[in-house]
């Protein structure tokens, strides 16, 4: 996150890989068609790019901030696509207003998606055994003792390997969700 704020290209790419599909999904959920959602998504990331430094200074959770930016950008899209009807027809105006989204996107599900996706992104940073230990103990709920026996390790070594991965995941998620 800090690297992305410093606009390091690889960190920015990672941020886009992580959050691009989330923002696109939010836009689609708000009712935008495919190409409009893609356009809106780009506008959201342009806004993020411009304001990331300020966001870091102000502090906050990136995920929620991104949700707000997306909602604002989607509203702009709606207004541009369909200008406000004449004030004379109250019903038309009411319909127009109701079509504009007014609530934040679904942050709970998208948070879960970010956690999962981050997990995929860090997998390559661990050796096969460490990763296997993490998957078996944390995702498959096997006890550290069982895993230790099957791999010929001490339970303590298994626990340490497990925490290495979870701790790394937590570090990656800091400031994001």
């Amino acid at each position: 996150m800090q690297r992305a704020c410093a606009l390091e290209p690889t960190a920015w790419e990672r941020l886009c890989t992580l959050y691009g599909p989330i923002v696109y999904g939010w836009c689609r959920r708000y009712g935008l068609q495919h190409s409009d959602a893609a356009d809106c998504c780009q506008e959201v990331f342009q806004s993020v790019f411009k304001n990331l430094g300020q966001f870091r200074q102000d502090g906050g959770v990136f995920h929620s901030w991104l949700g707000t930016i997306t909602l604002n950008q989607v509203r702009l899209h709606f207004r541009k696509a369909k200008p406000a009807p004449s004030l004379i027809d109250g019903q038309q105006l009411q319909d127009w207003l109701e079509a504009i989204p007014d609530s934040d996107p679904d942050l709970v599900h998208s948070r879960q998606l970010v956690v999962r996706r981050t997990l995929d992104l860090i997998q390559g940073d661990f050796n096969a055994q460490t990763w296997l230990i993490f998957v078996r103990t944390t995702l498959h709920n096997e006890s550290c003792g069982e895993v230790a026996v099957s791999l010929g390790l001490t339970p303590n070594a298994v626990r340490q390997a497990r925490f290495r991965v979870i701790r790394r995941l937590q570090q990656e998620l800091q400031g994001l969700v």
Partner: protein, 204 residues
């Protein structure tokens, strides 16, 4: 909370594992708190997560690629979109008195200057104020300068000072008296003493 700053990483994992096995284990408070946080995160990982139904749409991948390209457009745009222009030569930048312009490019200019505190000649590399105003550009310039300042090597020009005056980031380096590469190549061509091929470079 970042106990990693104070504890060696493997020691931290060791303490976390110890606490996991024995909740009464004597560990730092920060480790105890971190353990609780990590356990919560681990529990979340157990819950099934429905996939993002829109992720498979071709427009989604296009949107991601377009988002990624924003940073490339901006960083390459900084170097390419700005023509060298005749920016007025400043008279001073902090305690450096500008003597004359040595060279100028799209990114900024290099001046011969006098360090009035130490009374020595320096080369001042500046970034153009309008570029520095772009998001992240100034930070990148200063970060590169700090990285360069951290290096010590016979073949790397040391950095004396990094600063910012009136919105213009700059760095001070030793003023190396010599000649331009053009002049050097011309001189060597005339004497025929050394070419890039004879120096062992293929030039490709």
């Amino acid at each position: 909370m970042e106990p990693e700053n104070n504890l060696d990483q493997s020691e931290l994992d060791r303490q976390l594992a110890e606490l996991d096995e024995n909740p009464e284990a004597p560990v730092d408070t920060t480790v105890w708190e971190l353990h609780a946080e990590l356990q919560t995160l681990a529990k979340q990982l157990n819950q099934p997560v429905p996939p993002n139904p829109y992720e498979q749409e071709p427009a989604c991948q296009q949107a991601v690629e377009r988002a990624k390209s924003i940073v490339q457009e901006v960083t390459s745009g900084i170097a390419e979109s700005v023509e060298p222009s005749a920016e007025p030569t400043p008279t001073h930048l902090d305690h450096f008195r500008i003597v004359r312009l040595l060279g100028q490019g799209g990114m900024g200019a290099v001046y011969l200057a006098e360090d009035t505190r130490l009374g020595r000649e320096v080369a001042l590399k500046t970034m153009r104020a309008e570029l520095a105003a772009r998001p992240g550009a100034k930070e990148r310039f200063l970060r590169e300068a700090r990285l360069a300042a951290a290096l010590e090597h016979d073949h790397i020009v040391p950095i004396y000072h990094v600063g910012e005056a009136n919105g213009t980031p700059y760095l001070a380096m030793p003023f190396l008296k010599g000649q331009s590469l053009d002049d050097l190549l011309k001189a060597e061509k005339n004497t025929g003493c050394r070419t890039s091929h004879s120096a062992g470079h293929s030039g490709r």
